[in-house]
Each structure stands twice: as structure tokens, then as C-alpha cells.
């Protein structure tokens, strides 16, 4: 059976909240265009999954509202027809959200009648098979939704995510599941709902080297329901001092890093279903798994992989928690550590992307991509000194990479559960290990940036070009 889920990008949710709850205590409504992410077979369950991602909020013009009060709202359908036209032009799905200020989190009989008519209108105008989404929100933050597959067929949306400064999950029976004994102590610290949220989550880890393997090992013990591991690299002897779970024979056997990470999760036997993808993340064999994730961790040390995953939060509404470690040494001997920086950056609509933070160098990304995809040409250009960014291996130490992984997971858990309090979310933190201090440099989106400053790709989801790239 098809699973339905929906993601609100943080800025869209903020906009909707302002439209629905202006403080007058009466019903309000708005339209939302949603991008479609079609997953023919979920990597873990094998079932089809239709994801919707908010793309644009369209207010209902005040002069089209006929009447509204504490328990009703009526408006003319002209704007609905215009919104349907826009949905068709953009190949998106139209949603209608209204609020129940008195707090009833569900659909009334009147809602059923209205929405049947809307679905019929959508079929008449945009063709049979046109789906529409209806949502109800309450002032305490509750939200439920359903998909009208036809005027006589509606399905509940199984999971609604709101990904802003906090990551909120809405689904039936949240917080009522019994916690497995293995997670009792964690539930004592964070409450039972966190475990249930985690068990719902599909989490991707891109890069299973020093930091990624640490993150994998630690997240496995948090109890996520589903993990996807992406890395084309095989284990080498020089990795073994920091790849958690690696054994000497793994090198001899030429195992991929994802093989080792999968083994680590399997041997924990804590209920996580794991899938591995021994490919670079831009490989089309990763596409479905990547867009199936709810949250991804970027643990790659290359620029071309980061270019790809930097797009994912904006196109598909999948937040990226990106990590990195940079150790700077003196160029002359005896070498001395000048800086040792561990970084955790959250990338999501409303936050600053990795290009604007100058974490990605687009020229190096181009050359790295060529090295993987066109090695002969790359070699020729390298001989002519026309490629950039190749140098000696970067220094790395297991306790630094592991601490950065821990920082990233703390950010995830805070965003889900809120243990740091109202102002606790941190978009970008650099831990200066050598100075024993944390810095939080503010970033600014560059006005030309098509990733984080311009909104046309936000919630675009599936498109003729995956993530807008070749």
C-alpha cells in the first residue's frame, strides 16, 4: 500500500502559521503547492511511497473570503482554480490548509463535503488522476492531512514533517509506543517520543570514513528505524586508525566502507534496518534512496559530493547535517598544529548553504568529479597542472572525528527533542579543539545563490534533472 508523507519547509510553515493564526480566533485557510517525490519502492519496505514537499504558499485573497468564524470559513473558488492552473503548469500537487482554532485536530463533515467538491473540480480541470491534499492545523502546533486520490477516495497522510529550527514529526499515536528495553535509559533522559520519532526516521549517511563511521556507530545506538549508507570507497590500511568497526582482514578482502558500517549496525541488533550503496552519491543508483531519506548526514571529505548533498535540503526538504574536520599544520619542520577545527553545519531552507559558507569550492568540485567520471582526461589535465585541489592526505585523528560525529548527533537530538531549550538550535558551529572553545560564525546567503537565496527550487522535488544537475 502506498505510504503518503509530507514535508513543510521551515519558512513555508512559518508563513502558513502567520496566515492561519493571526490572533483573531477565527478560521483561516491558504493554498500550498507541493513538489512530488515519487518513490516506486521504498528501499527498506519495498512499498511505494509518495512524498510531498512544500514549494510555495499562496494566500487566499481577502476579497474572496465570503465569511469566516470560530467554526467555519467560506471563500470563492476563483483562487482555487488559479492555484490548480499553477499546480498543473509546475507539475505539482495543490494543497489546501485551514485551521480549527477551537483545537479539533481532524476533519469535520463539512470538510468532507467541501473537499469532495474540490477534488471533483480538480479532476474536471486538471484531468482524472489529479490529487489534492487537504490539511488541518490547530493553534497548539497540531497538523493532520489526507490525500484525495479521487472525489470518492481519500487516504490519510502517514507522516508530516516540519523541518525548521526544530524537526517536528506528526503521525498517529506519537509518544504512545512502548520503549524497547535497550533504549530505556535514553527514554529516561529524552522521553519516549524521541525513540518513536527515531524509529520512524529514514536517515542517510554520506561518507563512511572517519567521521561517518563514528556517526554510524553512535546513531545505531540511538535506535533509528532505517539507515542508508552511501560511499564508493573501499577500506585502506591508512583508514583503519579511525574507521570504527574495521578489521585487518577487511583491507585484504577489499571491503567497501559501507560493508563495514552495515556489519556494525547488524551486529548491534537494535532493530535498525540498513541499506548500503557502494557508489558515489551523484550516481543514479543512489537517487531513490537519497530522496527516500528524512534527514541526511554529510560526512564526505570531497567537494563534488557536497555539491550534490547541498542541493537535497532545498529540492527535497531533507535537512543536511554536514560535518568536517580541518587540521592545519606548519609547512616547515618540525611540524606543529596551527589549528584543529571540527565543524557541524545544518543546511535547510532558511539556513545558509555550504556554497555561501564557502565550505564548497565549485572549481575543486568540478575537478574531483572529472577525476571520478573521466579519469583519463583528468590525468592529462593534471599533467598540465590544470586541475586544482589535489594535495597530500589530510591529517585526521579518531578522537577528533568521533567528537565531531557526537556534536552532529547532539544537534539532531536537540532538533527532534529540544533538550537545549528554545534557543538551542545551532546552524553552524566550529569547535576549535586547539583553543578549547566553540565559535558560531554567522553566515549570509549570497543574493545570487540559486541554492539557498533564491526559492524557485525549494520543494521542487522530482524534476527532469535530478537536483537540477547534469
Amino acid at each position: 500500500m502506498t505510504m503518503y508523507s509530507l514535508t513543510f519547509l521551515g519558512p513555508h510553515h512559518f508563513e502558513v502559521q502567520n496566515l492561519l493564526f493571526p490572533g483573531d480566533g477565527v478560521e483561516h485557510a491558504a493554498y500550498i503547492l507541493f513538489g512530488n517525490a515519487d518513490i516506486p519502492a521504498d528501499p527498506w519496505t519495498g512499498e511505494p511511497h509518495q512524498k510531498y514537499v512544500s514549494h510555495e504558499v499562496i494566500p487566499i485573497p481577502t476579497d474572496e473570503i465570503v465569511s469566516h468564524g470560530v467554526g467555519h470559513i467560506t471563500w470563492k473558488m476563483d483562487s482555487f482554480v488559479r492555484a490548480l492552473k499553477s499546480a498543473r503548469e509546475k507539475d505539482m500537487t495543490l494543497g489546501v490548509i485551514h485551521c480549527h482554532p477551537e483545537g479539533y485536530l481532524g476533519f469535520s463533515e463539512q470538510d468532507n463535503r467541501n473537499e469532495t467538491d474540490w477534488s471533483q473540480l480538480a479532476h474536471n480541470r486538471n484531468g482524472t488522476g489529479t490529487r489534492i491534499i487537504s490539511l488541518v492545523a490547530t493553534s497548539d502546533g497540531g497538523i493532520v492531512g489526507r490525500v484525495w486520490e479521487s472525489p470518492v477516495q481519500k487516504k490519510n497522510i502517514d507522516l508530516i514533517r516540519v523541518f525548521g529550527e526544530r524537526f517536528r514529526m506528526h503521525y498517529g499515536d506519537r509518544g504512545v509506543d512502548k520503549v524497547a528495553e535497550a533504549f530505556d535509559r535514553q527514554a529516561l533522559a529524552f522521553g519516549a517520543a524521541l525513540n518513536q520519532d527515531l524509529s520512524m526516521l529514514r536517515i542517510g549517511i554520506i561518507g563512511l570514513g572517519g567521521t561517518g563511521s563514528a556517526l554510524n556507530m553512535l546513531i545505531g545506538r540511538l535506535g533509528p528505524g532505517f539507515l542508508a549508507l552511501f560511499d564508493a570507497d573501499t577500506i585502506e590500511e591508512s583508514n583503519r586508525n579511525r574507521v570504527h568497526g574495521s578489521k585487518p582482514e577487511d583491507v585484504t578482502l577489499g571491503l567497501h566502507k559501507v560493508d563495514i558500517a552495515e556489519r556494525v549496525i547488524r551486529e548491534m541488533s537494535l532493530g535498525t534496518q540498513v541499506k548500503k550503496y557502494p557508489y558515489w552519491v551523484d550516481d543514479r543508483r543512489c537517487h531513490v534512496a537519497l530522496k527516500s531519506c528524512d534527514i541526511i548526514f554529510g560526512c564526505t571529505d570531497d567537494n563534488d559530493g557536497r555539491i550534490v548533498i547541498n542541493q537535497v535540503p532545498f529540492h527535497y526538504g531533507i535537512p543536511l547535517i554536514d560535518v568536517g574536520l580541518a587540521i592545519e599544520l606548519t609547512k616547515t619542520k618540525p611540524t606543529r598544529m596551527l589549528a584543529c577545527d571540527g565543524r557541524v553545519t545544518v543546511v535547510s531552507p532558511g539556513e545558509v548553504c555550504l556554497i555561501c559558507r564557502e565550505i564548497i569550492n565549485v572549481n575543486i568540485a568540478r575537478d574531483e568529479s572529472m577525476k571520478r567520471q573521466l579519469p583519463e582526461q583528468y590525468q592529462k589535465l593534471k599533467e598540465e597542472a590544470y586541475v586544482t585541489g589535489e594535495g597530500n592526505p589530510a591529517p585526521a585523528v579518531a578522537f577528533f572525528t568521533t567528537e565531531v560525529a557526537t556534536m552532529a548527533l547532539q544537534e539532531l537530538v536537540h532538533r527532534l527533542q529540544g533538550f537545549r531549550g528554545d534557543e538551542g538550535s545551532v546552524s553552524h558551529v566550529v569547535r576549535k579543539f586547539h583553543l578549547r572553545t566553540d565559535r558560531r560564525p554567522k553566515g549570509v546567503s549570497k543574493d545570487w545563490c540559486s541554492v539557498c537565496a533564491q526559492t524557485h527550487s525549494w520543494g521542487r522535488a522530482d524534476d527532469t534533472r535530478f537536483l537540477g544537475l547534469i
Binding site: D282, D304, I307, V308, Q311, I355, V362, N363, A365, R366, S369, M370, Q373, L374, Q377, E384, Y386, K446, W448, C449, S450, V451, A453, Q454, T464, R465, G468, L469, I470
Partner: protein, 126 residues
């Protein structure tokens, strides 16, 4: 699959460029057909311009450009600086112009940026 973005194609069409997209050995390229070269500068009046669009374009920039036929400077019958190496693409040997820029603004830059760089490189060729 087309490698040019919709914005690229709209730009080329609006400006009246005659162009075609090709793929060769896993690389995508766009050929701008029969562009007039700066007057009295080269031993040819016009040439086709090839721009190779790298994987991850348009988030990452193209590098260099290529001409066919090969051109020499009229004043000394020599190849312009760093424009004497061949580049094989779509069964033809193109003249590689090794021109590089570190500036690329994903979202703002596109095929128009490259064409301006090509025009500038041809204007100042020596």
C-alpha cells in the same frame, strides 16, 4: 538528456545563437555555430565554439573553450597563447583555448557567462 538548463536555452534562443548539443565519450558539450570572430584579428572570419559542460553543471563552471576551424593570429601567423593543443570531441580535433576563471556564482552564472568570457578571450588574444 539535455545538459543545458532551460535558462541557458532561453538565452541562446533569445539572442539568436545557432547551437547544438552533443555528447562525446561521456561528456556533454554545446556547439555555438558559425560565430563571427573579431575583425581582422584571425586568419578566419568565423568559427564554431565548443563549450564542454562538466558533470554537476550548472553548479560548477565549464573550463576552457574550443574552436573549429583552428585559427591563427593574422599579424604573425602564430597560434594565440595557450591555444595550440588539440581536443578530441565528437570525432573532431578542436583547438583548445586554455582560459580559466575561478569565479562562478551558481544560480547567476550560466552559458551567458561562458560566452562573454569567450568573446573577451578572442578580443584580447595575443
Amino acid at each position: 538528456m539535455t545538459a543545458l538548463t532551460e535558462r541557458d536555452k532561453a538565452y541562446l534562443c533569445e539572442r539568436g545563437y545557432e547551437f547544438e548539443e552533443n555528447a562525446s565519450d561521456g561528456q556533454h558539450g554545446v556547439t555555438i555555430k558559425g560565430r563571427l570572430l573579431p575583425t581582422d584579428h584571425f586568419d578566419a572570419v568565423s568559427a564554431d565554439i565548443l563549450i564542454v559542460l562538466p558533470p554537476l553543471y550548472p553548479m560548477v563552471p565549464p573550463d576552457m573553450f574550443y574552436l573549429l576551424p583552428w585559427v591563427r593570429l593574422k599579424r604573425n601567423n602564430a597560434f594565440p597563447r595557450a591555444a595550440d593543443q588539440p581536443f578530441q570531441f565528437a570525432n573532431q580535433k578542436w583547438q583548445r583555448w586554455s582560459r580559466h576563471s575561478q569565479d562562478w556564482r551558481p544560480g547567476m552564472d550560466g552559458i551567458w557567462t561562458m560566452l562573454k568570457r569567450v568573446e573577451h578571450a578572442l578580443e584580447i588574444a595575443a
